[in-house]
Amino acid sequence: MANEKLYLYPLWIRIWHWLNAALFIILLLTGISMQYSNPENPFLISFELSVQLHNICGIALSINYLLFIFGNLFTSNGKQYKMKTKGLFKRLYDQSVFYLFGMFKKQDPPFPISLENKFNPLQRFIYSTAMYIGFPIIIASGMAMLFPEIIIPQLFGVSGLLVTALLHAIIGFVLSLFLFIHIYVCTIGNSIISNFRSMITGWH
């Protein structure tokens, strides 16, 4: 398996991926700088700059997300995000056991990478959740805050803006956890950098 080279990531996916990564990191840093804004903290980006950057990058990320959606609609890449519910829990369990124990015992991965299965079941589940649930929510709530007049003023007696902002921050937080875990798991390859190199060259 290790010697067989697979072309897993076509150019459009790589462009989308790195654009998404760069924009997401800027959004994360500026989001934290606004949420915990403190003019005396030298590690935070200034509030004014954060607002502008967050707005611009938020719109850019939303447009880039369209590239992902259309790319998945019109190429075979979309299949990588589909899951059968039957036996899903077993597959997720097996992959988790491999990450937690099997890989330290030098066991072979239970779901080897192929052109049909670029992602193992755990990746498939997490990537699908992040891209088809997390991203739509964070984009919709972000757009709502960019145009607050479209937000319902009151929701169950609480400010609609507050609910939207809380949702945006919570999903942002969950996606930022995904980012950290994603970067870490990507170091688990033939070498620490091999997966990062794959996302640059396209070849695994």
Partner: protein, 310 residues
């Protein structure tokens, strides 16, 4: 007591209440029959004709607003000369001096919580008074016929914001009233606030005085209106944990809400969202804990990878 006597007693009591209420409503009738309308009629005895005239707009009283205002219980002649009860009014009456707030409220322990004396001192420091000491009075902002202490009675912060900002706009968006107070050229508020991001959102949700008055710890509303160069322009003055907004209206509402529900920060959480200022302690702790657990997980996994690869 016989039931018929009891019934009669109740009816008498009801009638007396009703008569009292009627009297209360009618106490200003002779004034408001003209001053509550755009036009008024009077009988010209000399010619035996009924004359209809238009009422000068600044002499008109919005009766509903007056009834709901802080001073709505007063008779017109409690503040205006009793000579107004005769018609036509004497020309000299136009020269009568109006009362200022402290003519009635100063030194009254019942009104101590409003700090009228401190307000007056602050007013004398304000840019408004110093630019037009003769023209600018309490009434320039607080119309005695309509004024109500909105922040203390208003349910929602947004209603108080709108009420208070309309006080500023009554001059700053109305050239005729603005010109009564100053010779300066009218300020175009939209233009002078062009630098403010989300201008409309800020105008709807923040009171002008939050940025244009000097902060005061003792007064609910600081009356030291500052020149425009001293107004707050830093986003982080409000958008930070130590938000400027929490110094006045939001502080008051928060304290009031805490009295009722015992939940700190209840108002700022329920009524508004100010990024950087709204912080939920529990969510912050939870996020730090979850993030810490993820880092510990990654760290432990890394240690095992290094250890097992040997």
């Amino acid at each position: 007591m016989k039931p018929s006597k009891l019934l009669l007693g109740c009816m008498c009591l009801l009638l007396s209440f009703s008569l009292y209420a009627q009297k209360e409503v009618n106490k200003n009738h002779s004034c408001l029959k003209c001053h509550a309308h755009r036009t008024y009629k009077y009988m010209n005895e000399d010619f035996g004709m009924e004359i209809k005239e238009s009422m000068c707009s600044n002499r008109m009283i919005d009766t509903l607003a007056y009834q709901q205002s802080n001073h709505g219980m007063f008779k017109c002649t409690d503040c205006h000369s009793p000579e107004y009860e005769t018609f036509p009014h004497s020309g000299n009456l136009r020269m009568e001096l109006m009362y200022a707030c402290n003519d009635c409220h100063a030194g009254d322990p019942e009104y101590a919580k409003f700090h009228f004396e401190a307000i007056e001192e602050a007013f004398y420091e304000s840019m408004h008074y110093n630019r037009s000491p003769d023209a600018f009075t309490c009434w320039s902002c607080h119309n005695p016929h309509t004024y109500k202490t909105q922040a203390r009675i208003g349910e929602k912060i947004s209603e108080t914001v709108s009420y208070d900002n309309n006080i500023c706009l009554s001059c700053h968006a109305d050239v005729s009233k603005y010109e009564l107070l100053t010779e300066r050229e009218n300020i175009n508020i939209l233009k002078s606030h062009e630098w403010l991001p989300n201008q409309e959102l800020h105008f709807k949700n923040v009171r002008c005085i939050e940025c244009h008055t000097q902060l005061s710890d003792s007064l609910l509303v600081s009356h030291v209106v500052m020149p425009k160069d001293s107004a707050i322009r830093e986003c982080t003055s409000c958008h930070s944990a130590n938000s400027h907004l929490m110094a006045s209206l939001y502080r008051y509402k928060s304290l009031e809400s805490r009295k009722g529900s015992g939940f700190l920060n209840a108002v700022i959480i329920n009524d508004s969202y100010v990024i950087g200022a709204n912080r939920n302690k529990y969510l912050n702790i939870l996020s730090v804990v979850i993030f810490g657990l993820v880092l510990i997980g990654i760290f432990t996994h890394t240690i095992f990878r290094i250890f097992k690869s040997k």
